[in-house]
Symmetry: C2
Subunit: 150 residues, 2 copies
DNA sequence: ATTATTTAAGAGTTTAATGTCTTTAATATA
DNA sequence: TATATTAAAGACATTAAACTCTTAAATAAT
């Protein structure tokens, strides 16, 4: 898979929260059940996003998690980098440490272009905007297709 | 990383053999030492390529491994699919089973294009041709940069 | 104050990828 | 036929990703 499961879970949760954002917190339990993701595992993943100020969390009754203002303007690229780091967008396609424009591997130039394509795919638009598109097009973000964008 | 280590090792070994192909067999030991890849691990990986008739192996003294005629005309895409299967080029970017053009995830259309870019990068030309380019451009295929294309 | 609800933190467990080691089978050469 | 050389096969070990479970900390409401 292109992205780790952690990144994919982070993406799906971010889209969920972008769609269900009315200023209040959504409980992680609710998000995990709606999206069919293990609760504790999702909690860990979302901690990366709050640490990066893409989300805000609050403990206690009626607590939960929500996108921050920064998060609403962020892209899936920001989400992926917050969770898995920038390696995918920096490393040589063959993982060769010394590969660079002055001493390239056979894939170097092509990979530079493909990598930009991946970045563009993830950074095309904001989470806020993607939630609108998701609602308009009823995009699938669950395995079983059961999900209400509202 | 985009590709598994197994696929990357398979790619590097394929390029090595394409460059050192004079009809005779190269021992896997030699390949593994030249490319700094664990010998036994590389052996396992190359078995996928011989099983797919991209390579031919021969036991005994002066035995070893070499590209087949099919292998010389094959591309890195064939190598990757022989080793890791076609999942990367088939699966939804979010790993959602039901995702398809009739019920797409938010990345479906963009991912379809990016995926073609990855395939094009890997299927641009044959191993035979890549070996020529490698020799002409002295492309890096080892971590330490030490490698003779001959 | 006490209790219930929620995230945070951290210690496990499981699974798959990666890597190592030993034994077996094939084959050439002496 | 005996020996050396090679890949194949398979058991085992290590590592990292993925997942589970328990306890702690914060907070609201009673």
């Amino acid at each position: 898979m292109l992205l780790s499961k952690s990144s994919v879970y982070g993406i799906r949760a971010s889209l969920y929260l972008a769609a269900h954002n009315r200023g209040q917190y959504n409980s992680i339990r609710e998000v995990s059940e709606e999206l069919d993701i293990s609760f504790h595992f999702l909690t860990k993943i979302l901690q990366n996003l709050t640490a990066d100020n893409l989300m805000e969390s609050y403990k206690g009754p009626n607590g939960g998690i929500r996108l921050s203002a920064k998060g609403r303007k962020a892209t899936l690229l920001d989400v992926v980098i917050a969770i898995d780091g920038p390696d995918l967008f920096v490393e040589c396609a063959l993982g060769l440490p010394g590969c660079g424009s002055s001493d390239p591997c056979p894939l170097h130039n092509n990979w530079a272009m493909v990598r930009e394509g991946i970045k563009d795919m993830l950074a095309r638009t904001t989470l806020e905007e993607m939630a609108k598109e998701g609602k308009a097009n009823k995009f699938r973000i669950t395995p079983d297709g059961h999900f209400s964008w509202q």
